[in-house]
């Protein structure tokens, strides 16, 4: 049976999950895995096979135990010798969940981690758990995406936000309202025959061509590991395509060779993005760097770092070190940074992970406003929260091509 922890952000769900998992009064205690991916790893291995070995999931380890066999099957599609740092967020989440099951804890608390999984893998996990009702572990689950959790027969424990907790969702809506009258001009982006593969792996893009128009929210869906985040890296020039060209307003553009500001990427894991001694430091550095760069954007959102901190309700977190931020606040900060980036195109990789229902609605409102201003927007999501955006264009990556339609 699953005990589902239902409630908004900052309602104390995570603290309760940890407390239940680590309660040793009934035995050895359980395992708690959280939404930030890297802290869940052992830190003693660099590849899938190494991490699997440490958790007893390597072939020949752990005997013929049913849970271990099921955990092995859950990650059977992950390349065993692939380095952990090159796995996608969803692949890493799968590995972490399998490793937690492989440890055969008496209690397993999964805090938001399933939100990284695509619908197929979420259902695979739910099926796995239903088929293993004899599993001695109790599972405690927090998840903002909904179906298939909580399922029939699951217990639900409800939480509510304390009165004195900061309301970041209302602040986000107000920020959206404030930007409602701004108008900017962003250029059209066109990819022509782009090919790319990581060293030693199969093609992620193979002659992909697609045109992105500003003012249209592109909702990028696709299974874990299909190349969604790689698209962001290609557009930003973090990686270089092996073939193909990119055009900005019809003119050739080589992002890996250009300093001109074209796109800002907000990453799936905010700790891969936020740096510096504090939230304020990060935003100030970002603001200074973007001010010094030429940009393809005509006009601007006219929001400074200091204003953004206040407008997003982050004032009480301004002095926090990035790692000390509550995870959904870190995610929100990674989204907010885009507002001061002076980039004509914004790429948000799973921006709603960690946000409750109200928060996802506030994010959708902000993205709707940003689209109306004339900015270019690409949103990666496994959920349906952005499907209702006006003129939303679902796209996916299939067989190395970017194509219209969802996953």
């Amino acid at each position: 049976m699953i005990t589902f922890y239902d409630g908004p952000n900052l309602s104390g769900r995570s603290a309760e999950l940890r407390r239940f998992a680590w309660d040793k009064s009934g035995g050895t205690g359980g395992i708690y895995v959280q939404q930030m991916l890297a802290p869940n790893l052992s830190g003693m291995a660099t590849t899938v096979s190494g991490e699997s070995f440490l958790h007893g999931l390597a072939p020949g380890q752990g005997g013929q135990c049913h849970e271990i066999e099921a955990a092995r099957a859950f990650i059977a599609d992950l390349p065993r010798e692939q380095s952990l740092s090159s796995l996608s967020g969803g692949q890493l989440a799968k590995l972490i969940i399998a490793c937690a099951i492989g440890a055969r804890p008496s209690r397993l608390a999964i805090d938001g981690l399933l939100e990284h999984l695509d619908p197929h893998n979420r259902c695979a996990f739910a099926d796995f758990w239903k088929r293993n009702q004899s599993n001695p572990a109790e599972i405690y689950l927090s998840d903002n995406y909904g179906a298939p959790f909580p399922g029939e027969g699951d217990r639900v424990r409800r939480f509510s936000r304390p009165e004195d907790a900061p309301d970041l969702n209302t602040a986000l809506r107000q920020l959206g309202d404030r930007l409602g009258n701004v108008r900017v001009h962003a250029p059209e982006l066109r990819l022509d025959g782009i090919s790319f593969r990581y060293s030693g792996k199969s093609d992620i893009f193979s002659g992909a061509s697609f045109s992105f128009e500003p003012g249209v929210p592109y909702v990028l869906k696709g299974p874990n590991g299909c190349g969604k985040s790689t698209l962001a890296r290609l557009l930003a020039g973090s990686v270089k395509p092996s073939a193909g060209s990119m055009f900005v307003d019809g003119r050739p553009h080589r992002p890996h060779r250009s300093d001109r500001n074209l796109i800002f990427c907000s990453f799936q894991d905010p700790l891969e993005q936020i740096f510096g001694g504090s939230v304020a430091d990060y935003l100030r550095t970002l603001e200074a760097a973007t001010a010094a760069r030429p940009t393809f954007l005509s006009g601007g959102l006219d929001t400074s770092a200091a204003e953004l901190i206040s407008a997003m309700g982050l004032s009480e977190f301004a002095a926090f070190e990035p790692f000390d931020l509550p995870r959904f606040v870190a995610k929100r900060l990674a989204v907010g940074a885009a507002v001061i980036s002076r980039s004509p195109w914004l790429f948000f990789d799973e921006p709603s992970i960690g946000s409750d229902i109200e928060g996802r609605a506030a994010l959708a409102h902000l993205f709707s406003v940003l689209t109306n201003t004339g900015l270019g927007l690409i949103l990666v999501s496994h959920g349906s929260e952005f499907d209702g955006l006006k003129d939303a264009q679902p796209i996916t990556i299939s067989a190395g091509k970017i194509v219209e339609g969802g996953e």
């Binding site: 050895t28 830190g43 190494g50 740092s85 990453f267």
Partner: protein, 236 residues
């Protein structure tokens, strides 16, 4: 796993014995014992790596010797005597290189993720084994983390194109590498290692006794003892 751990322990001891051997015979015997331990343990890949690492050193020494011989054809015996006599500078050089290679290989060639259990089997204290294993993984993952940080900063427009722009932003790159790698290691200490009791779960189970293991243990103990004698007799 257990046989592998013992083979590596013998390799470390063998490396020490080679490095501290007093003469050629002790060096050769130590070397043979190291290779023998690897073979007995069925660690053919490990043995291959030892040979790959140390053979070039021996080959260079041989070439050096041939070169000197060709250059001074009349004094072959004198050159040989100079090179191989007690106190020759060639011997300590070879000993140091081959011994260090054996020790480094014993630790560094442990399959990914197996260093911690390996060190625990060798009875290393948990805290030291944690430090060595996690330090090794952080060091091994640092280049990847650095390049990910660079890519992330580039995607935010903080690092420009080209090597000079990357050099100018080294502070930010290191800062992000710190957040994304090292600070997360501290989180592991709190979450994974304390709360989740990860390390307790990792402790090796008591070894299953079998005749094969018993026989192999006797061979390892004999080999280890022989190496210890060599270390003690050849030490300073």
């Amino acid at each position: 796993m257990r046989a592998d751990a013992l083979a590596r322990a013998i390799l470390v001891a063998g490396g020490l014995a080679i490095a501290m051997a007093g003469d050629w015979w002790q060096t050769i015997i130590s070397y043979a014992l190291v290779i023998g331990a690897a073979i007995i343990a069925g660690q053919f890949r490990l043995m291959g790596r030892i040979l790959l690492a140390t053979t070039p050193l021996l080959a260079v020494a041989s070439l050096l010797w041939l070169f000197i011989r060709a250059d001074n054809p009349a004094d072959i015996s004198q050159v040989a005597d100079t090179l191989f006599r007690q106190g020759s500078p060639l011997l300590p050089l070879l000993r140091t290189l081959a011994g260090s290679a054996a020790i480094v290989l014993a630790i560094a060639t442990a399959p990914d993720g197996q260093l911690f259990p390996l060190l625990r089997i060798l009875k290393m204290p948990r805290s030291v084994a944690t430090l060595v294993a996690s330090g090794g993984a952080v060091a091994a993952g640092m280049p990847a983390s650095y390049s990910r940080s660079l890519a992330a900063l580039r995607a935010q427009g903080i690092v420009g194109a080209g090597g000079w722009a990357q050099f100018k932003s080294i502070g930010q790159v290191l800062s992000l590498t710190w957040v994304a790698t090292l600070s997360i290691s501290f989180a592991r200490a709190e979450q994974k290692w304390v709360g989740n009791g990860f390390l307790r779960r990792l402790d090796p189970p008591p070894p299953a006794a079998s005749k094969a293991d018993f026989g192999r243990s006797i061979i390892f103990m004999s080999t280890g003892g022989a190496l210890l004698v060599l270390i003690l007799s050849g030490g300073p």
